[in-house]
């Protein structure tokens, strides 16, 4: 039962996948597990699809854990999956949202990396693909998208943690998401969840040029963070990737924005340095709770502003 699941703990991939099965079984009319492909090491990749029916409804994408060591993101996504499921039919906002749109939630976007953080190197961030001519493995999957690919803020060195890979979408984990997004064709929002440093960002990262929708996305982001902050007063900054962190090319939300998904955002959850990627498990639920408030605001805004 999902009721006995310990949301305040970090879990391995097997346990998370098993939780997903339980959640789907508990809400068969709301959730399906979409197998979007397999990882480099042949692990299945799943997105949870929350849908109340209809064909090719407008949809919102949320992914977590593309950088495997950012454990609080996978853990928060588990909590959020359960929150969406349990709030449907109870919370008017979630009910109305799912009456009009579908939500796709990918809890473990980089399963090979996640397993590697549990078994070999807790600090692993990248995929696990092998590069010919190099003894170093893996590509930074958030430098591998076809948006300013290979530009500033990504490394051409396969040993670097921000290695962009041999070509755009070379990583099957990225390609699987790209294919799903392109095949679907009706995503209105794409939200990627990372951790640490407490930021909510919008495009661009590959250039410091402002996007045409900057003022709208900035105001949506600011309002979302006001909601997030209302719970525990966690401090967040809002801005474009390039302006509030650094120029970084090949990022997912730049690609989604450039293909026409206007409401593209990236979260950076807790913390700010005292624990880094080793955030104590007792902070999972507070982090997920506050993130949910911000996420919900964005989702409601997307529902209310069709384009």
């Amino acid at each position: 039962s999902t009721k006995s699941f310990n949301f305040a703990a970090y879990h391995d991939l097997e346990t998370i996948y098993s939780f997903m099965d339980t959640l789907v079984a508990s809400h068969p009319n709301l959730i399906t597990k979409v197998h979007i492909g397999n990882s480099y090491e042949n692990r299945p990749m799943y997105a949870l699809k929350f849908s109340t029916g209809g064909v090719n409804r407008p949809a919102i994408w949320v992914d977590a854990g593309i950088h495997s060591r950012e454990w609080v993101t996978q853990a928060s996504a588990v909590w959020i999956a359960n929150k969406i499921a349990s709030n449907y039919g109870v919370d008017p906002s979630v009910t109305s949202l799912l009456g009009q749109m579908d939500i796709y939630l990918m809890i473990v976007t980089n399963p090979d990396g996640y397993v590697f953080t549990h078994t070999n190197n807790r600090m692993w961030r990248k995929t696990r693909s092998v590069k010919s001519g190099s003894s170093c493995r893996g590509v930074d999957p958030n430098r591998n998208w076809d948006a300013g690919f290979g530009g500033p803020g990504a490394s051409k060195d396969p040993c670097s943690d921000s290695y962009h890979g041999p070509y755009a979408h070379s990583e099957v984990e990225v390609k699987n998401v790209v294919d799903l997004i392109m095949g679907h064709g009706n995503f209105k929002s794409f939200i990627s969840v990372h951790s640490y440093s407490q930021l909510l960002m919008y495009p661009y990262g590959y250039t410091c040029t402002d996007i045409p929708d900057m003022s709208e996305l900035h105001s949506v982001g600011t309002a979302a963070i006001k909601e997030l902050t209302s719970l525990y007063n966690t401090r967040y900054q809002v801005g474009s990737i390039c302006k509030i962190i650094y120029q970084a090319s090949g990022g997912s939300i730049d690609w989604t924005y450039d293909i026409g998904i206007k409401y593209s955002f990236a979260f950076e959850l807790r913390d700010t340095g005292f624990y880094g990627f080793l955030l104590p498990a007792n902070q999972i639920i507070p982090t997920a709770e506050e993130t949910w408030l911000g996420l919900k605001y964005i989702m409601e805004y997307v529902r209310n502003h069709p384009y």
Partner: protein
Amino acid sequence: KELFNGDQVLRIHVESEDHIQALKELEEDVDSGLDFWTHGFSTERPIDIRVPHSSLSAVKDFLKKNNVPFNVMINNVQELLDREKSEMVSNAKMER
């Protein structure tokens, strides 16, 4: 299994263009095995770097020589990892 005994996370406070140049130099030194937890060098935001134990004194000396202000955010990464591991074991027991 890779261990992180004695690795520290340093928080660097960039205050000038000279500091940025020094950090770029540090970033290019791949042999030090530095793991930049936050990227992008600006005076707006601090930069956190996990420094392997073997490179600690060299990196700290380099920062001091270049007058780059820093402090130690995490004194021993492995201690945090051990705590995380034991927490996971105890959580798994609770679930069973």
